[in-house]
Structure formats: C-alpha cells, structure tokens
Amino acid sequence: MYSLASYFILPVNRNIVLPERICSTQYRVDGIAVLTITGNAAASAKELLEAVRRHIGTVELKEDVKGIILTDSYVGFCRCVTERPSSLHYAAGLSVLGQQTATNIEKTGKPCIAVFENECSGIGLELALACDFIVASETATFGFPDIELGLIPFCGGSQRLSRLVGKSKTKELIYSGDLIDAAEAHRIGLINRIYPEGEALLQAEKLLAHICTRSPNAIRIGGEIVNAGYDIDLQTACMMERDAFALCFASFDQREGMQAFLEKRPPHFKGE
C-alpha cells in the first residue's frame, strides 16, 4: 500500500519532470495508439494533465490512428500526481485543465478504451471515465481516495461517475475513499469487461482491433450522438438522432456496409 502523504507533499525545489517521462504513445501498425501514463512519482497533477492533453491532441489528428487505448504502466499512477493546491485560484485552474483534458479524451471521435491491471483511482479514474468504456483485469481496483487529503475529484469525475453508476454508489466511493475490486466495479457497471490477471491489455487491444473493423463514420457519429443526447430531453435527442441517421445515407460507409452485408462479404470501410 502506498503512503498517500508522501505523494502529496512535493519538494519545493524539485526538478521539472520531462513530459515524455509522464506519458508516452506507442503507435502500432494496426492503427491503434496506446497511450501509457507512466505515473512518474515526481510529476505534479498539472504536469500529468498537460502531458495527457498534449498526447491526446497529437493522437486525435493522426489520420492513421483508428483507435486509442489509455493505460498505465505503474501501480496506482493516479495517486502519485495530486499535490495539495497552493491557492483557491490555482485549484480552480487545475480543475479547468483537468476537465478540458477529460473532455478532449471524450471528443477524439475515435474509439477509446481505458485498460487497467492495477489500481485505477483519483485522476486515473477520472480520465478513464472520459474514455468510451473501461475494461480491467480481475486484480484491478477502483476508487477516489482524494477524500483522505480533504480533496474531491476535479476532472469531471464526480459528474461522469454518477451518470454511469448512479448517485448513491458515487457518493459511497467519494465519501469513503475506499477502493472497490474489479468484480464489484463490473457489478455496478463501472467497467464493461473483466479479464484474467495480466491479460487485460492484450484482450483490450484485440477488442479495439475488432471495433476498428467497423465503420469509423458510424462510430464517430454514434459516439457523438450518444454523448450529446445524454443530458438533454429525449425528444430533442431523438430529433438529433434522426438527422444524424439521415446523414449516414450520404456516406460511402453506408453503401459499402450494406452492399457487403447483401453480398455476404466483409466490408471495407473508409470512414467517408
């Protein structure tokens, strides 16, 4: 178990951590970008969020990247990066940065899966909640230990979690600061799939590669419309859906997908 305090009190004259030591992106030949947060213990929340934001921005604009995996290479990376903000002003700015980073993850238009083998808590869970969905190995744990330092989630995590698992479970996790195991996280709908220990990343890559054979156009429009319609009334949302549905029928992907279905062959989508 990590001593929380040691991570929150940062030395005043510490060296700036190089961004590449906080976060790295591996571009695979099959079009999957694996964004790994290395969770360098010396990084501050600001440095971590800025690094993730920059990496997401780069990945988003690369046309040959079809899908994104967000993962960590370090036990509980998210614990090591929160320092107690020095002023209210700084805290508010940090929250804006965190929320923007999470929103950027949500809006890449490419399928994005968060994968965890170990502890996924604090900022890590907040960023994971901005992905399309989360998968984990049976050894993973989830929670918001922020409360132990008198803090609460600040990257949109409290809002995304309550919309996903309901208000009661969200309050339980935030108030207690306790971590729940993968089985419980699966039961409450926080994670979509559980894999055996050590297999989560491999299985997630397989799942994402499978998703990437589907129409990028339909995935982008579908993801956008799910996100946009969730917080508005159903009637308006369904009207938006009608327009988006009609738009699909001006695309190459629709003709190719349906032609392939009728000819009983695999489709070759272009995302156009």
Binding site: P111, D132, F133, I134, R163, L164, V165, G189, N192, L207, H210, I211, R214, S215, N217, A218, I219, I221, G222, G223, I225, V226, N227, G229, Y230, D233, L234, Q235, A237, C238, E241, R242, D243, A244, F245, A246, L247, C248, F249, A250, S251, F252, D253, Q254, R255, E256, G257, M258, Q259, F261, L262, P267, F269
Partner: protein, 241 residues
C-alpha cells in the same frame, strides 16, 4: 382492415401483439411499422385489455431492423422519413396508457432492440440474441436507440454495444439491465403470460399513472417531478377514481 405482418388477440385482460412478418426474421419494414401502429391503437382502445404484450413468439425472432435490401438504396431523405415513422411508433408505445411488455423470444437486433426499449418492461428467453449492428453496416440507428440505450444500460455499455456490433446473450443482457427478467426457453410463454396477467389484474388508472410519472421522471427535474407526482397521485388515489 386485417393485419398481414402480425396478429392480435386478447386473453385474461392481456392484449397480445404477435409479430409474424412471414420469414425467420420479423423485419421492421414500413408496412410492419404501420401495422404495429394500428395494432397498438386498437389494443389501447380495447376495454378488455389492461396490459399489452409485444412478441414474435413462437417464431425465431422478436424483431430485427429494416430490410437491408431496401435500405441500401435509401437517400438521406428516405432515411429521415423512415426514422420519423419508426420514432412515431415508439412515441405511441410510450404514451399508450397501458403497460407494454416486450417478450423477447429470440433474435432482437438493431431496430428490434429499439422497439424493445420503447416498451416498459423487457422479458427475455434464455436464448436471447440481442445487439446493434449499425457500425457493421456503416450507419447508426435512427430509432432512438442512441439515446434510449445509454439511458437503460449506461453510456459505457451503450458505446460498447454500438462499437462492437456484437451479439449479446441473455445473461449479459440481464447484467447490463437491457433485459429485466430472463425465463427458461421451455416455459417462456407460460411465464410471460402469467407475469402479464398479474400486471393486468391491477387498476388501469394506477398502472397508467405510474407509467406516465416514471416516463416523465427521465426528462424532469426532481422538484417538478415531485409536483407532478403529488397531482397525479392525488387524482389516482382519490375515492372517486
């Protein structure tokens, strides 16, 4: 006017709409959707029915989406009209004062899944095969699925279902909350009927008030919803009703 793609009957205060579109899969063609609208209207007015069961029993499928052979030639304009027609059926099911139970007797894909989600309760057989294959066809659903699915199973499962275009079984559907109950295949229909009969034995005023309030709760803030509940329950529970 007789129905060609379905038949309806009423027994023990339950009205049944049984899709039978003439092939293995009950495709939601324009004709089928129009007939469904007529059937719902008819059972809504049927004084002998307090609840409605919608199913494809004893066929192999509950319902699947549109006929791809037709849809492949759709222009955006055709697609918009088709989507409007489907959504108007779902509006009708949701605003029908009687509880509508979807008995998912088998394959429930795409538009069929959306049809099931417009019903109040979903009961599935163990052999359920449910999913949304739009991303495989290069489209998204136009039947409110992109908004109803996240409201039922949460955004994360909804995105997984849309993105993978996979087929899910009854255990997964139950775990995600997409199916409310799962009954074994051998006495599926007996259990569905007896469940529907239990529901139908209750006061229609109470049933329809509850349905309206719960549907309204989705789009209403808590204060307004509570106010609605106060008004509607006062009327429902009054001795004159």
């Amino acid at each position: 006017m007789p129905f060609k793609k379905l038949h309806i009957k009423t027994a023990n205060r339950v009205g049944y709409i049984l899709l039978d579109a003439g092939s293995r899969f009950n495709k939601l063609s324009i004709t089928t959707i129009r007939e469904l609208k007529r059937a719902v209207e008819q059972l809504e007015d049927e004084p002998e029915a307090n609840a409605i069961v919608l199913s494809g029993y004893p066929g192999e499928s509950f319902a699947v989406g549109a006929d791809i052979g037709q849809m492949v030639h759709f222009t955006p304009d055709d697609a918009l009209h088709f989507s409007e027609l489907g959504q108007s059926l779902f509006d009708q099911i949701e605003s029908c004062p009687k509880p509508v139970i979807a008995a998912l007797n088998g394959i429930t894909m795409g538009g069929g899944c959306d049809l099931a989600m417009s019903c109040d309760i979903r009961i599935a057989t163990e052999n359920l095969r449910i999913g949304h294959s739009g991303a495989k066809l290069g489209i998204i659903t136009g039947f409110c699925g992109t908004h109803k699915l996240p409201r039922i199973v949460g955004k994360n499962y909804a995105r997984e279902i849309f993105m993978t275009s996979e087929i899910y079984g009854s255990a997964e559907a139950l775990q995600m909350g997409l199916a409310d109950r799962v009954y074994p295949d051998n006495d599926f229909w007996d259990k569905v009927s007896s469940f529907a009969e239990r529901v139908a034995s209750h006061s229609l005023t109470a049933l329809s008030s509850a349905k309206r309030l719960i549907n309204a709760s989705e789009d209403t803030d808590l204060r307004t919803g509570s106010l609605l509940e106060r008004e509607i329950s006062t009327n429902t529970n009054s001795p004159y009703c």
